[in-house]
């Protein structure tokens, strides 16, 4: 027993060196390359349609008259509407907030926390004396975020993880949540979106894990409105009968940090449309 412990403790530092976000990314991407050899990497931005040819045709027909067009217009209006103090959202962002979606989330080394685009939109409001917005029900936050994604289409995700303990901890925390079985049904995110992706759950095919955040917020025709990534995370947790986390919580921010890092190199194509 003692000997085993000794060997284990000797191995620990070397294991920590081996497991890095970059190594995780390579493992993740090559897993999907082997799982779906016919899907080119850049196509994963299309979510489940990258692996489901028959559903893809219907979806492409739907995209000819995108159901989210009015939402993008509304988002643009809100984005340009001055706050009570006269500033606009653009004043808080690099390049006035245009074409920057791919840089989120990032790790703020001063605050030592993950900042998502939607979190930054809310921070911007607070800084300008306005109330933060809800991540749920497809209201203003989803619209502004959808517009900002729209102006960034075609840019490639480039999430950076600074080499600090806090940043790596946030990444590891998101990764742990991704792989931990939760809820009454005992599913992890990875159960459906890594191990069982491509199989059928009733009539649905769980989408592959890489490419998930690229098309958010999404317009869901079943709900007739926009859904933010955090509302989608919460919806998933709810369906596996697990306790959810609040929109903008550290837990969901870190989860977004992990999943978006795993989608690095893919194009922003939000807002997407889904059934």
């Amino acid at each position: 027993m003692l000997k085993k412990l000794l060997i284990f403790s000797l191995l620990l530092p070397s294991m920590a060196v081996i497991a890095s976000p970059e190594k995780d990314y390579d493992d993740f991407v090559s897993y999907f390359e082997n799982r779906f050899p016919d899907t080119p990497f850049e196509d994963y931005k299309n979510g489940v349609y990258s692996i489901d040819k028959s559903a893809r045709e219907q979806w492409e027909a739907m995209e000819e008259f995108p159901p989210y067009e009015l939402n993008v217009d509304r988002g643009e209006e809100l984005f340009n509407k001055p706050f009570k103090n006269g500033n606009t959202y653009g004043s808080c962002f690099e390049n006035d907030g245009i074409g920057i979606r791919q840089n989120y989330p990032y790790f703020d080394t001063d605050m030592n926390k993950v900042v998502t685009l939607e979190g930054a939109i809310n921070d911007c409001r607070i800084k300008n004396g306005e109330k933060p917005l809800s991540y749920f029900k497809g209201k203003e936050l989803a619209h502004v975020s959808a517009y900002m994604a729209y102006t960034s289409r075609g840019n490639k995700f480039d999430v950076q993880i600074p080499n600090t303990k806090e940043a790596l901890d946030a990444y590891e925390d998101g990764k742990r949540l991704y792989f931990t079985k939760k809820g009454q049904l005992n599913f992890s995110c990875a159960d459906c979106h890594v191990y069982q992706t491509g199989t059928k759950l009733r009539a649905d095919i769980p989408s592959p894990a890489i490419g998930h955040p690229t098309h958010f917020p999404v317009y869901r025709s079943g709900m007739g409105r926009l859904v933010t990534l955090h509302e989608r995370f919460a919806g998933c947790l709810n369906r596996i009968r697990a306790k959810s986390f609040k929109g903008g919580s550290d837990e969901l921010n870190n989860l977004e940090f992990f999943t978006t890092f795993m989608s690095n190199g893919l194009e922003v194509n939000g807002p997407g449309s889904r059934k």
């Binding site: 009454q184 049904l185 005992n186 599913f187 159960d191 191990y195 069982q196 199989t199 059928k200 759950l201 009733r202 009539a203 009968r241």
Partner: protein, 111 residues
């Protein structure tokens, strides 16, 4: 008195059979119900529509699970054998009661 004997006889003769077939019917309902077993999410079963395919089809269950207890444990807590299994621990996590699992097994044994 005569009537009492008659009704007692009726009970003795028909109860086991009718309750067993009731169990099978209820078991099928529980098996298909999305809020209960929702077994069709992953398993092809009998005449169930829109069945998933990431679990094995539920066929010849008596031949595959001659020991009822093994099948019971597989539904109660499959993580005991395999902590990474995709199958939820229906009994252990309180999604199904003992009674419900037994009814489901009665139904599965007809397949």
């Amino acid at each position: 008195m005569k009537n009492l004997i008659k009704s007692l006889l009726f009970v003795i003769i028909f109860t086991p059979i009718s309750s067993y077939s009731d169990n099978i019917a209820e078991g099928k309902k529980l098996t298909f119900d999305r809020k209960k077993g929702n077994c069709l999410a992953c398993h092809m079963i009998d005449d169930g529509e829109l069945a998933g395919n990431n679990g094995p089809p539920l066929l010849a269950m008596k031949a595959r699970f001659p020991d009822r207890e093994v099948l019971y444990q597989q539904i109660w807590d499959p993580t005991k054998d395999d902590p990474y299994t995709f199958m939820p621990p229906f009994g252990k996590h309180g999604a199904l009661t003992k009674k419900e699992i037994n009814k489901i097994i009665d139904y599965l044994y007809t397949l």
